[in-house]
């Protein structure tokens, strides 16, 4: 598997803590699941570490569909990270 570029989008306090609403990143080939991605992103710098310090709180959507942390993200083009939702 080759490295691939994805668009990452952030919302709510995940966006505020990381400091940007979105970024493009090349994911290493050993990032298979949503959980892998969250753990890897948290090692990038202090801002990402702060935003993602509690991985189980972070929700992930792939191409605008909810996924669980054990689901594969290898086909993803757009991946969103955000806290539990509070609409309604």
């Amino acid at each position: 598997m080759t490295d691939r570029e994805v668009r990452l989008v952030y919302f709510s306090w995940v966006r505020e803590r990381i400091g940007v609403p979105e970024e493009r990143l090349v994911l290493p080939s050993d990032i298979i699941t949503a959980g892998d991605l969250v753990r890897w992103l948290a090692t990038r710098d202090d801002a990402h570490a702060f935003a993602l310090q509690s991985p189980s709180t972070i929700r992930v959507a792939v191409d605008q569909m909810h996924v669980s942390h054990d689901e594969a993200i290898t086909e993803a083009r757009e991946i969103a990270l955000f806290p539990p939702m509070t609409g309604g």
Binding site: S12, H66, F82, P83, P84, M85, G87, G88
Partner: protein, 151 residues
Amino acid sequence: MATVRVQAEDFDTGAEIEKVSAGRRDIGAVASFVGLCRDEGGRLAALELEHYPGMAEAELGRVVAEAESRWPLDAVTVIHRYGKIAPGARIVLVVTASSHRVAAFEACEFLMDYLKTRAPFWKKEHLIDGTSGAWVEAKGDDDERTNRWNG
């Protein structure tokens, strides 16, 4: 017939309720729910609703499709606002129509429970004293209310 709208503008509750059964002779029941912004004991100046454009509409559509698969619904309308919303103002509307009341009532409650835990919206509090308060935390009992539909 399903209508899903995600918008900054307010909506006309009465007009939306009328619309679902206009010209129909088969609908026997229309149920509705309107969610409003509370002032939290006078503390809150406004709520700011952030959303994930594109996914918000798509996920509401999926939640509506799930309701339509569970109950015999003749019409569903879901409208969810985003942006700054003042205390007393409307945030969300769900209207369900069916031949009989049980389907309309249950589907309306189901839609609210599901959209609270699945639709990508987040509320931030702006306080009367001018400070920007915290992001509203998701409630555990919202998850429990959603889960009980799968019991």
